[in-house]
Amino acid sequence: MNIDTNQALFEQLAHQLGQVAGFIYPNEVEIQWAILIVVYPYITGIVAGAFILASLVKVFNVVEVQPIYRLALLTALAFMLIAGMPLNLHLGHPERSYEIFLTPQPTSAMAMFGFVYLWYLMAVLLLEVWFEYRAQFILMAQQTRGFMGKLYRVLSLFSNDVSPQALAFDKKASKLITIIGIPSAFLLHGYVGFIFGSIKANPWWSSVLMPIVFLMSAIVSGIAMVIIVYTIISLVRNEKVDMRCLDKVGLFLLVAIIVDFALEALDYIHRMYQAEESIEILGELISNKLFTSLVILQVLVGMFVPLAILAFARIRHLNDDLRKLMYFVSALLLQVGIFGMRWNVVIGGQLYSKSYRGLMAYKMELTGIESLGMALVLLALPFIILAVLVRLLPTQPMAGQPPAAH
């Protein structure tokens, strides 16, 4: 570190030190896991959630959801491609990231992330996408000329078997991959929760419920994200939204929120009833540092309001446009809520002293490698990738190709 960054660090720490309340340990002034570590579980959550939504079609034969099957898959893929980047940037040396594969460390959950990621991306997402699109690649390679034609040929791996047997095999294969994929998606995001839940020195994190809470909130955010993407794409393409599909997805979303809420409430009730020695400082944390982000954003705006909207949309017979709007708005609010949840877990866990006697402060930087600016860039990237993907890979089966549904 040179003098300049030292100086900047000192200034920042001095500022944070000024906002400390009570008694803290010296090494707690600096918030080590900052905004990018909030973005990371948020993005992987969307991956897992979107994939699980897609798997409803393949494994559970939920026919209504068929129209957004491909979109959900592509959403998962687009976010997956970015999921590792917050970590790489946070660690400060993205150019060394390949080393995680060179020197595996099986006793460290964090060090195994590279393999969890690789497995999910290569063995699940890419394979499933490939089987889903293979026949279509062949068709498009035949119909398009020039560079795009060549690209589709490469993408189809130069195969050209579109016989009914081959198509049937594709279907079977993608069903098998989905079956493997569901536990993998659970693994991917449960893993993220595990990273936090297994830190026994931090009572805000240390909870066996953490992986499963992360998982449920991942499902909520993934489904909500697919609703957002679907609504926007339909709007841009001027296509009619399939309300039967949206209603079904809305129902799944509603159930997921309720389960998620029940789990989180259980976690809090459990903590309060146990009333371990950390309870007082955690109470202070919630009522002081996290009031806006937890009580207002995560619970009220990000959970109760969308819950109410979704429930209302189901009970009352409203017209399509209104329902569409309600789904869209609640999906947006849910993103706020889930992002808030990630924030409250990651930042919240670092805002109170492990002496249980003081609270720290987090000051987010605007620019730099670990900053708000970088977080916004990372959050925008999946959408850009998705825009490219939906152009390259049609979200509806082409004419001339049998639909993938059963």
Partner: protein, 244 residues
């Protein structure tokens, strides 16, 4: 059974990838890329190249053995010298480079001792605005052996001259309390709680009046002796044989 085309294609791709990985792992890349040891070695070199700022307490002992020993027995025994005097590696290797600063301001001690409800139970704390405000802490506390000066348990601790004077006067046997009522708090915050002083001639008359019961005290006629002046206008009460 015929192997589906998809599988052969994928299999070829996979075999290609696998071959590339194996080739990289066992042929192309040097073996030490797969070991953490070079990283650890490089890190050690990097860390060792950093300038040393702190010498550590044992280094100070060489030349400041007296202070070291004093401190090792006192309340600050677990604190390093450089916690208070700042990084002093340069000084320790060559004292001629300059003396470390002496943190003698009150504010310095506040960092650890200013009252804060969240400090551990029993940790010695003070209220900065009330605890001997305005005076440097080191006037009363040796920073190397910070025993709180015990509050004197008798009057001589603070009124030494009077106590000594009285002790050799004819009032030697007379307790201070015979003439002064002293509140408990006078011992810790003397100015905030002052004792009483005798109010009039009668208070001396308890022992010196002609009708007094006290045996050893010489008697005077209160009505006439010394007119109506207060007794202590002629007799210094703490050494009454000296008349003014």
């Amino acid at each position: 059974m015929k192997i589906p085309e998809q599988i052969t294609r994928l299999g070829m791709l996979l075999a290609g990838v696998l071959a590339a990985v194996l080739l990289l792992r066992f042929v192309i890349l040097p073996a030490d890329m797969f070991s953490a040891a070079p990283h650890q070695a490089a890190k050690a070199v990097r860390e060792m190249a950093k300038p040393v700022h702190y010498a550590g307490m044992p280094a100070c002992r060489e030349c400041h053995a007296d202070i070291y020993d004093t401190k090792s027995a006192g309340g600050h025994r677990y604190m390093g010298c450089e916690n208070c005097h700042g990084a002093a590696a340069a000084h320790a290797s060559d004292p001629a480079t300059g003396n470390p600063p002496l943190p003698s301001e009150r504010e310095f001690c506040y960092a650890c001792h200013a009252f804060d409800p969240s400090r551990p139970n029993g940790f010695p704390q003070i209220e900065p605005t009330e605890h001997r405000a305005g005076k440097k802490c080191i006037r009363c506390h040796d920073p190397h052996d910070p025993v709180p000066p015990s509050a004197p348990s008798d009057c001589s601790g603070c009124h030494g001259v009077i106590a000594k004077t009285k002790a050799t006067s004819s009032h030697a046997t007379v307790e201070c309390a015979a003439c002064h009522e002293v509140p408990e708090q006078h011992f810790t915050s003397p100015r905030a709680a002052l004792p009483t002083k005798p109010a009039g001639r009668e208070s001396c008359g308890q022992c010196h009046g002609s009708d007094a019961t006290d045996s050893g005290a010489p008697r005077v006629d209160l009505a006439s002796h010394g007119d109506s002046y207060q007794c202590w206008q002629c007799h210094y009460p703490h050494a009454p044989e000296m008349t003014r």
